[in-house]
Symmetry: C2
Subunit: 90 residues, 2 copies
Amino acid sequence: MNFIATIAINRKNGVADPEGNTILEALKRLSYSNVKFVKAAKLFKVGIEGDEENSVRKTLEEISQRILSNPIIENFEIISIVTIQSAGKK
Amino acid sequence: MNFIATIAINRKNGVADPEGNTILEALKRLSYSNVKFVKAAKLFKVGIEGDEENSVRKTLEEISQRILSNPIIENFEIISIVTIQSAGKK
């Protein structure tokens, strides 16, 4: 079965977010004064094959921890795992 | 009212994704051969004040188009807008 996972990589609390802060300052200059904060993060879509969702989730957690995130300053969150129907495969 | 919006900024189809491809190659080298593709994107959490969700959504669409994304190569998607209860405010 084919799955598509959506994984967010967020900065841990207290870790500086220069990208978010720069965007917030730009918004203030452009008179979007009702914007209170901006936090920048990363998003990954991962296409993965596997027999069932639990084993796929385990692999995704391993990948998120080892490859996609820096565990010192970032947390990962598996937002969704959806199954993709692929023609010609059981 | 206070809202928190989650906005994804994805590359348009056909736009090169060197970050995603580099991660995919690293995963292959590490024997995660069941991973079929990796797409890298950006995620923003925006805290915003407003009277009601429709006007807030309109502002967020404007911000996403003008500031958060590069419309030549990126699409934006407002994933969610949630209301935050704030003590002491009506």
